[in-house]
Every structure is written in C-alpha cells, then in structure tokens.
Amino acid sequence: MSLTESSNTLYELKNVERKYNFKSNEVLAIKDVSLEISEGELLILEGPSGSGKSTLLQMLGVLDLPTKGSISFLGESLDKASDKVRTKLRSLKIGFIFQQFNLIPTLSALDNVELAMVPTKAKKSAREARAKELLERVGLSHRLNHMPSKLSGGEQQRVAIARALANTPQVLIADEPTGNLDSESSRQVMDLLRGLMTQSERVTVIVATHDKDIAKYGTRTLKVKDGLLV
C-alpha cells in the first residue's frame, strides 16, 4: 500500500459497523457509519460516554478494523491491511493523544517524546533534537528531564501532544484530551491543537469528547449517539 497522498480526502468510511462479542452477547458499538474527513479539519466527535465515539476513533486511528463496511485512509483501503502495515501507518502518519496521557512513568518528558521515534530508527541526536524542539513548541522546554509524576496534568498532556507530533503525522487522534484537565489546562491544550492545524504542517485533528465546550474549537462537529452519527 502506498502512503502517498492522492487527494484532500483523508478518510473515507462506508457503512462501517463494529461489533464486539462480550461472552454470549453481541454489542454493536458502531452501526452503519459513513463519513469523509478531509485534510486540515479539526473534527469533533461529540457524544456521551458509551455512544461509540471512542470505537470510531480507534478505527480512524487504525488501531482496529470494522467488522463490516470499509475504511480508506489516504486513498488506500484498510480492509485487508496487515498488522505490520497498520503499525507502520500509526508510527508515521497518525499521532495519538489519550485522556490519561499514557506517558511512560519511568521516562522523562524528553525520553517519552523520543520513544515515539524508535520505530523510525532515527539517530539518537536527531531524536533528541526533534523532541526538544517539540517540547519547546508546547511550552515545556524547562521540563525536559522531568518525570511525568513531577508534571501537572496539563503539562503531561502537552508532553503527550509533543510525542504525538514526533513523527510529523498527518492526523492527530485525541480521545477526551481534556477529560482529566481543569478548564485552564483544557483551554491551553485545545488552543495548542487548533494551532497545529493552522500551522504549516496542517495536521488534521480528530477529537472525541463528551464536553460540549470543546466542540467550539472544531471546524466540524459530529454527534455520536448509540453508534450512529446524528
């Protein structure tokens, strides 16, 4: 599969369905979703907890595949993409931001950012320079060697954003990025994400949230309810 861009359409989802089997019960987390996402968008997926937005986010992040329907990313179908191909896509084209930051607790802020560049096999000096640049960009140049436990929630999320940007991705997938932050930190994080799409990289940002206040940052907001876009 080629990873080169062929059009402005980043994602194309057609009749996507995701079914989970919990013991003997079938749970349909996503029901017949069709969606296109273009480059440079800041897409907000808004919905209550359990609505299916995180499941949709995982499929957009190539972490999971639909049980029905098809997804194409950068013009290529992911239906039969191997784990190896999907892993490579995630490492080079997609960045992730999690509600609980998911930083490695035993590594410093700088190391956490560098860690994302391990799959690229970049040299130590190049990794370190890029990590410092990104941490400076998110306003943490003075926290390079701090351990996550020594950083505030907002700072940790900014380190996570720097990590997500390490390999110059085309998409940032953010699952409840402000879920564990106070309003000030939330604002800082969302400003940072909005700035990314307006800067030269023109990173597409997809945010899943249940917070209606976050929706105002998006260029488009889709409401998710009971596995459907409404």
Partner: protein
C-alpha cells in the same frame, strides 16, 4: 533508546525488579549450593578414590590374611622363587611353613607377659610393632615386580601398627615354698590278726623262742590257739608271755613282728616344693597408645607411600636416615609434636626431620622411618608388606596388575579402579544423596525459580497493559515489544545471576559450616589391627575409615552455570511475557484506558 528504556524500567521500578531478581537468585543460589556440595563430595571422593595417583602410584601390592578365596592348583605348584612367599593364601593354616613362621615372627614382638620387662615395680616404656593383617613377605618380591613389563618403578614399604606402652611392671605372680617340715606321729597299733599271731609264733619258734602253755590263754583276741611260746632261756619277760633269754629274745621279737608294727615310729618329712601362682588380674598402671608406622625406601623420594611432594615442613631423609623420622602433620598436631623434636621410640631416639601430609587414604602412617630402621625395630629384617608400583602407561595398569597376580600368587593387587569399589561410609552415602536427591531438588528449585520469574513477568505485563498498548498505538511493532520485554527480563536475569552467585557462595559456606564431617571407609587396605589389635581390645578390621571434612567448592564452571541458569530463566520469562505483551491488541489496550 530501548536499552535506556529498559534500564529506566529496571531502576525506577527497583522493588519489582529486585523481587523478580531475588526469585531467580534464590533458585540459582540454592542450585549452586547443591552443585557446590556435590562438587565438594566429588572432590572428597576423588581424593579418596585417587590416592594412588596422588602419590604417583598406580598399583599397591599387599598380602592380607582375609583377602582370600581358594588356592588354585596352578598357584600352589608354581615353582618360581616369589611364589614360595605368596603361594598360600587365607588362614594361617593355609600358609606355607615359611609364611607361618614369618607371620608368627612378625607379630611375636608384641609382649604380653609384662613380667619379662623386669621385676615388679620397675618403670618401663616399650614399643611393640606388628604388621597385623598385612602379612610380610621377603623384600625380593620388589625386584620380581620391577621385572614385569611396563613397570616403571616398584618401591617397597613396611607398614605396621605400633603399640606404645608405659607403666610399672605389675606383680603378676606370687611365689612361695612349701614342705621340708618334720612330723612325729604316735598312735596305738590295731590288734594282731590270727594269721599274724600264727605267723609270729612260727617265726619265734624258728628263732628258738619257747612257749609255755599259759601263753595261749593270755591272748587279747580271746581266741584259743592251744599253745604258748616258751623262752629258750627259761626267763619270763611277762607273766604270760613267751619265754626267752636276754637280747636274743628282743631281737627275735623285732624280727618276727608284723611289718605294720615294725614301721610305726618312722619320722615323716614333707617334701620341699615351690609354688608359683598367677595373680588374676595383675595390678598395673600400664597405659597403651597405638599409632601406625611405615618404613619407606628413602632413596625413592618421588614414589612410595610418602613422597617429598607431601612434605609440609622440614626436609627429606638425608644420607644417614637411621635416627630420622617424618611425622604426619595431623598426628603431630594432635600429639604436640614439633619439627626437630626428638622422640624416643623403643628406647631409641629419633629426630623429627619433617612433617608430611600423606594422601594415600587407607594406607597412611603416623610416623615414617627408613625401611631398614623399622625392619630392625620390628624384628622383620628383610621383609616388607607393600610394594608401590608405578606403571609406564595408565592403560597398562590392569595388564600389569594381572601380571603381578600371576607372578606373585596370593598377592592382593590394588588399583584405583578396585579401590573405588571398596569405598563406602557416609561420604559415599552423601555422594549418592547429592547425586540423586540433590539433582532432583536442584531441578525442582530451578524450575520453581523459572516459574516465579515467569509469573512475575506475566504479572508485570498485565500491570503494564496501558503502557504496552500505548507503545503499540504509537507504532511499536510486535517484535519490538517482545525484544523490549526480553531486554528487561535479561536485565533482571543479570541482577539475579549476580545475587544468585553471591547467594551460592554464602549457601555453600553455611552448608560447609553446618555439615558434620563425613567418613569414608576403604576396605582391603588396612594396616595394623588384627592380632595385636585384638590383644589390646582394638577392632580387628580390614577397613580404614577416614574422616572427610567436606569443602563445598564453587568453581568457574559452577559460576558460569549459575549465571547461565539465571539468564535462561529470565529468557524463558521474557519470551513468554514478551509474546503475551506483543499479542496485545492496541485497540484493546486503548479501550481499557479509555
């Protein structure tokens, strides 16, 4: 980066790392301890089983009373000179006359009649020497062995048991004289019988004594003889007695009295007699100490039952070895004997010229003399009871042993291989225990350690679902995850190996300190005991027990084994844990954290 990450994981989560590492270390340490003990037992056994090679000897030729089956016709008819010394085997009655004489001669120096040491009350110090069960044989046998093909050297030795006695000669006998007394016996004779009277009258009549008629009625018997003796001289000695004249009558009476009347006033003299009575038990303060001695060929300092290599201090025998001795360092230590000290043995003075550490288990002596000196002391001139043989090639040992048996029928030929079959005792038991139970325990302990490491790793993986899921989400491949987990567990393995090796040394030290000394019993090569030992209430046995202080040894190979075991354990844990981590679906981890 990944090494840095692994290092940080190990150091920042130190308690978890240490728990995993200690789990491995305990297993490795215990296994190393067991291996160390097993090595110690092997070393002890090797020391025990390889006494011959340790002194540059391949074969020992001896002759024991008990080590016999039957006499083969070919052996008994062998006509070569040595066969005369070795022909008969077995019990004393089976020995030929030369041997019988030699055996009795060898052990005859032991004195049981202490009275022969001097008059009662005399203080004495005496050393008796006896070859015991190792029967002596003429030293010419050495040259016979020397003549066998592939024999490099044959060195004679005379090992004996010595009994040192000191004390006061006891009063063992009581001598007194009887007899020489004179006795006077007076008693009334019994009345004459009728026959005696008739005989007497006839006698008197023959002597010319006449009898009156009244004589007959005066008899005390009341019998009626019918006649009375009448004295020829007409005199009357009594009113009723026979008549006879003067001294002629008395003489006639003396002549004619019955023999029993004639002997009544004989003087009795009791014959003089000296009676010696054995006092049982004799009263004595005699103290007895036993020790072993050996006579060696001092001109062969590099082979024999003791060699220069076993000297721990002092020097070898010089050109005049007559009054020189070497003393076993352990015996010297326990008896407070020091180098250059003079010892009196059998009334002769000997100088301790060296202390030795003999290694020939089952055939060591406390004191070593020049061969001719001990032959002289033990009245065994020209006789030996051991030949230590060195063979040119180790492969020829059995062949040479067979040749010796053929040349010297009746000889007991001992090689390292045959000695191995004769070793028993707690050392052997411990060896068997270490080999069997120890191996099983070691395997179980090691498997348990591996299992602990694996479970801790899997537990750790479970706790790190979010972290691993994140790594997968940001593009880490499965094999990268696997190798990362492996790196971490190998790190734990290295720490576990270091701790385990340390623990192994500590464990062996503890085992070494706690384990009681073991005994190794070697049969068939005992010196002394037997007849002399029996006399002094010592055990008669053709075995020799050696106390073996176990020294567990951890060699380089054991350390390498310990390290390898820890690494293998960590690898197993890492592979299983890594596979589990690598199989983790990033989406599943995402859900768990979402």
């Amino acid at each position: 980066m990944r090494f840095h990450y692994a290092f940080k994981e190990l150091t920042k989560r130190l308690s978890r790392t240490l728990v995993s590492a200690i789990g491995l270390a305990v297993g490795v340490g215990l296994v190393m301890g067991i291996v160390g003990v097993s090595n110690g037992l092997n070393n002890a056994e090797g020391k025990d089983l390889s006494p011959l090679s340790s002194v540059g000897t391949d074969i020992i030729v001896t002759r024991t009373v008990d080590a016999v089956t039957s006499i083969s016709p070919s052996s008994s008819t062998t006509t070569s000179a040595p066969s005369q010394f070795f022909r008969a085997r077995g019990q004393l009655s089976q020995l030929n006359s030369t041997d019988q004489q030699a055996l009795l001669q060898s052990n005859s120096s032991v004195l049981t009649d202490l009275s022969k040491l001097g008059p009662a009350g005399t203080n004495f110090t005496y050393d008796f020497f006896a070859p015991g069960t190792l029967i002596t044989f003429p030293s010419q046998a050495t040259s016979v062995v020397q003549g066998i093909k592939d024999v490099t050297s044959a060195v004679p030795a005379l090992s004996m048991q010595a009994i040192h006695e000191s004390g006061t000669v006891p009063k063992v006998v009581d001598t007194f004289q009887t007899g020489s007394q004179s006795l006077n016996v007076t008693t009334a004779p019994p009345p004459m019988t009728q026959a005696q009277r008739i005989a007497m009258r006839a006698c008197l009549q023959n002597e010319g004594v006449g009898f009156r008629s009244g004589f007959q009625s005066q008899g005390n018997s009341g019998s009626n003889s019918g006649t009375s003796p009448t004295s020829p001289g007409g005199g009357t000695p009594t009113d009723t007695g026979p008549r006879s004249g003067g001294s002629g009558l008395s003489q006639a009476f003396l002549n004619c009295m019955p023999a029993s009347y004639q002997q009544y006033e004989t003087q009795v003299v009791i014959p003089s007699q000296t009676i010696t009575r054995v006092l049982n038990p004799p009263s004595t303060n005699t103290s007895t100490n036993t020790y072993t001695v050996a006579g060696i060929d001092v001109s062969s300092p590099s082979s024999g039952i003791i060699t220069t290599s076993q000297l721990t201090s002092g020097h070898w025998f010089d050109s005049n070895p007559k009054n020189e001795i070497l003393v076993d360092s352990a015996y010297a230590s326990s008896n407070h004997i020091s180098l250059n000290q003079s010892l009196t043995i059998d009334k002769e003075t000997f100088k301790v010229i060296g202390l030795v550490n003999p290694t020939l288990t089952g055939n060591t002596a406390d004191i070593y003399f020049d061969l001719s000196t001990i032959q002289s002391l033990a009245s065994n001139s020209g006789r030996i009871n051991e030949i230590l043989v060195k063979v040119a090639n180790a492969n020829e040992v059995n062949q040479v042993a067979s040749a010796i048996k053929q040349q010297l029928p009746g000889a007991q030929v001992l090689t390292s291989a045959s000695l191995a079959d004769q070793v028993s005792g707690s050392l052997q038991n411990a060896k068997v225990l270490a080999t069997n139970l120890g191996t099983v325990v070691a395997i179980i302990v090691l498997l348990a350690a591996f299992l602990i490491a694996l479970l801790l790793t899997l537990s750790n993986i479970t706790k790190r679902y979010r972290e691993i899921g994140t790594l997968r989400a940001i593009g880490w491949r499965r094999k990268t995850i696997l190798s990362q987990i492996l790196l971490e567990t190998i790190g734990i393995g290295v720490i576990g190996a270091a701790l385990g090796v340390l623990l192994g040394f500590v464990a062996t030290d503890i085992i070494s300190a706690l384990l009681p000394p073991l005994t190794s019993t070697t049969s068939g090569l005992a010196v002394g005991a037997s007849s002399a030992g029996t006399m002094f209430h010592q055990t008669t046995s053709a075995t020799s027990s050696t106390s073996v202080k176990l020294s567990p040894s951890i060699g380089v190979s054991t350390v390498i084994f310990g390290i390898a075991a820890a690494i293998v354990g960590s690898l197993i844990a890492g592979i299983f844990g890594g596979i589990r981590a690598a199989r983790l679906q990033p989406a599943q981890a995402f859900r768990d954290i979402g």
